[in-house]
């Protein structure tokens, strides 16, 4: 009797389902006194609605068929859609393709979209330039070749 009460108490208070499951398997489902207090399968079946007790509404199942046919017609498909695992695979593949294409475009075009002057400015800044101790003007020219920068110096001697 004490064990039964203890088991019942533990099933109520234990927070983890595996622990309650252990108590149920070890005691509640083996002890004759405790199993008497449980509904048996046969008893439960008497309360539950059985398949042969379901009274078909003659309009219901044709309506379900019509609904499915309408869904098929609306989707324009004669076959069931892809199974969820293939839908997920297609979504992941599509994402990877888009990400790869975006990354490639960024690499190819990301720096080329900057104007020549801006690019030269990004790569070079001539803060001051002197020729023969006299200040000179500089023009930075960036040809298409990526590793070539031409700096044109314009110097007019002050004696001229």
């Amino acid at each position: 009797m004490f064990r039964c009460r203890l088991a019942e108490f533990l099933v109520k208070v234990l927070p983890l389902s595996w622990a309650r499951d252990l108590v149920l398997r070890r005691h509640m489902e083996r002890c004759p006194r405790c199993t008497e207090r449980l509904l048996s399968r046969a008893e439960a079946r008497d309360w539950l609605i059985q398949d042969d007790e379901v009274e078909d509404d003659p309009r219901f199942w044709p309506a379900v068929r019509d609904r499915i046919r309408r869904d098929v017609a609306a989707a324009g498909l004669g076959m069931p859609a892809l199974r969820p695992v293939w839908q997920r695979a297609a979504a992941v593949a599509g994402f990877l393709i888009l990400a790869g294409a975006g990354f490639w475009l960024y690499k190819e075009l990301g720096h080329g979209s900057v104007s020549t002057t801006s690019q030269a400015l990004l790569r070079f800044r001539v803060n001051s330039l002197t020729v023969g101790g006299e200040p000179a003007a500089a023009v930075v020219i960036q040809p298409p070749e990526p590793d070539l920068v031409i700096v044109w110096v314009d110097h007019r001697p002050s004696s001229q």
Binding site: L38, A44, L48, I49, Q50, V54, I68, R69, P80
Partner: protein
């Protein structure tokens, strides 16, 4: 035979167990019909009738259970009361009333008994008692651990037995 015809064969085979399960979980015909209709529509979209899954009935029950939960949420949101079947229903309060003779009787009596259980407990009890599924099979349908199923089943069996003993209600005879 095209895929729709194959699927209609599947529907003919499983519509009675599906409706019975939905009625046992939801307790009223209207919600059960909604759930069944949604479940079969979803099943058609996801299933390849030419090569159905090995445990087709269990898979259908999984889909149906999700739709039953949707129906419960809709019902709670709209605060609908459980409706009785349209057939003439007996007075549930009659003390001498013990033996359900029709579906409506059973639904009315079931409201009292199954009303003390949650949807998950009702589903587990139906699958265990009526479909005779093992705890592992039920766990697969509910996507939970078998230990969780055992605990819910135990609670459902205890609650109904305690209710019956308290109200001194003998079992309905068939």
């Amino acid at each position: 035979m095209d895929s729709l015809e194959r699927f209609e064969e599947i529907m003919r085979t499983y519509r009675a167990p599906a409706m019975a399960l939905a009625l046992n979980v939801l307790g009223n015909r209207e919600d059960a019909e909604d759930a069944c209709q949604e479940a079969f529509a979803v099943a058609y979209r996801r299933l390849d009738p030419a090569s159905p899954p090995p445990a087709l009935k269990a898979w259908l029950f999984t889909v149906l259970y999700r739709k039953c939960l949707d129906a419960v949420r809709r019902r709670r949101r709209s605060d609908r009361l459980v409706r009785k079947v349209k057939q003439e229903a007996p007075d549930p309060e009659t003390p001498g009333r013990r033996e359900p003779r029709s579906l409506s009787d059973k639904l009315v009596l079931s409201e009292g008994v199954l009303g003390i259980l949650g949807e998950k407990e009702r589903l587990i009890l139906s699958l265990w008692a009526k479909e005779e599924y093992t705890l592992n099979e039920i766990a697969g349908i509910l996507a939970c651990a078998p230990s969780t199923v055992r605990v819910h089943l135990f609670q459902a069996r205890r609650k109904i037995k305690a209710w019956m003993e308290k109200d001194h209600v003998p079992l309905p005879t068939r």
